[in-house]
Structure formats: structure tokens, C-alpha cells
């Protein structure tokens, strides 16, 4: 079974803190993605990566950065957390050759609250 593991289920951080959200997958997937999920807005793509050390901006990259030093790990960084970054963050991964027959595999999500 493919597993995508997000390091924290719930996080509470203060405004201005630097926040790291970690995501690890164990199926040798090339592609990894970070989304945020807000009520009524669905999933919005923050950043994605097709390979180690490669990153591409998604639809809402402002205020975020990412790091992919190893194939299995994709980190999302909030350089200076703000209250409007309070959200559910979902990590996902997929094969590089295509979505196979099931699309992405998702992590369980990290609910971040910035106070």
C-alpha cells in the first residue's frame, strides 16, 4: 500500500514563526504536491515537484517555499506564518509516468492554526 505520511496532524503556531510541514512517501513516486484546503475553495495547489531538487509554483505560492532534497520527502515552509495561512494542508504524490488508474495518493493532512 502506498503511504504518504505528514508529520503532524495538528499544529498551532504564532504569527511570524517559521513553520515546516513535512511529507514523506514510500512508493518511489516522482511527483509530489502541496495543496491547501479551505471551505468552499476546494484544494488549491501551492507548489509541486517532478524530481529531486526541482520545484514549480502552483496557483498560490506567495508566502510559501518548498524543499525536495530527497525523492521521498517534500517539505513546505512558511517563512513567516500569518493568520491567513490558517488552513488544512494536504500533501500528495503520484508516479511520474502518469496518474496510473488512481490519480494521487494523499496524506492525512495537517491542520495548521496561526494565532
Amino acid at each position: 500500500d502506498v503511504k504518504v505520511t505528514q508529520s503532524s496532524r495538528y499544529l498551532v503556531k504564532r504569527t511570524g514563526e517559521k513553520v515546516f510541514l513535512e511529507c514523506v512517501q514510500d512508493m518511489d513516486h516522482e511527483n509530489m504536491f502541496w495543496y491547501r484546503q479551505d471551505p468552499g475553495l476546494g484544494l488549491r495547489l501551492i507548489y509541486f515537484s517532478y524530481d529531486v531538487k526541482m520545484k514549480e509554483k502552483g496557483d498560490i505560492p506567495e508566502g510559501y517555499s518548498v524543499s525536495r532534497e530527497k525523492k521521498e520527502r517534500f517539505s513546505l515552509i512558511l517563512e513567516s506564518a500569518s493568520t491567513n495561512q490558517t488552513s488544512m494542508y494536504l500533501c500528495a504524490s503520484s508516479f511520474g509516468g502518469g496518474l496510473a488508474n488512481y490519480g494521487y495518493t494523499f496524506g492525512s493532512g495537517t491542520r495548521l492554526t496561526v494565532v
Binding site: 511527483n31 475553495l41 476546494g42 503520484s94 496518474l99 490519480g103 494523499f106 493532512g109
Partner: protein, 111 residues
Amino acid sequence: EDKVVQSPLSLVVHEGDTVTLNCSYEVTNFRSLLWYKQEKKAPTFLFMLTSSGIEKKSGRLSSILDKKELSSILNITATQTGDSAIYLCAVEGNAGNMLTFGGGTRLMVKP
């Protein structure tokens, strides 16, 4: 820019009812449409529909793709409280290997 719109935003039904969830899309070079179910945590895969597989069924759930109307429906018959969840529709378009998601439909099934 690829766009996916789901309706309704939310829905409350009683056990035993049949529901239909809608998804419409505008994408460049459509490749596939996927449905996911999200309960308290990770979205889980339901169906993938492509030009060569426009209808899928699994138990009480079924989905149809209408390429002419650029839309899809997800039907759930004889709903149960365990069907309560957010249902996400996503489309793979020109970018390939990447999904654009709709806003989701929150379904609540009351006993």
C-alpha cells in the same frame, strides 16, 4: 487556466435517499476526470473516467462522464450515514500528471 466547478456546495439528505453530485470543467486537452471521497482525513480515490471509460460503477456509487457537456455526475443510491463526506472532483488536463480540483460537495446523510 483549467477550471473545475462542483455543485451543490452542500447537501443534506436522509438515509435511503439517492443523491446526484455534479462536476463541470473547462480544461485544455482533457485527459481524465477523477472523483475522491474525503472523510476526516486523506481523500480516497473513487473513480477515474477517461474518453475510453466514461461510466464506472462500484456498489451503490456510479459516475458518468459527458464529454460533450464537459461534465460528470456522481450518483449514490440508498445513501447511508457512512456516505457523509466531502466529495471532490478533479480533472487532469494539458499539464499532464497534475490535477485541478473543484471546490467539493459536502454531503451529510442523516439517520
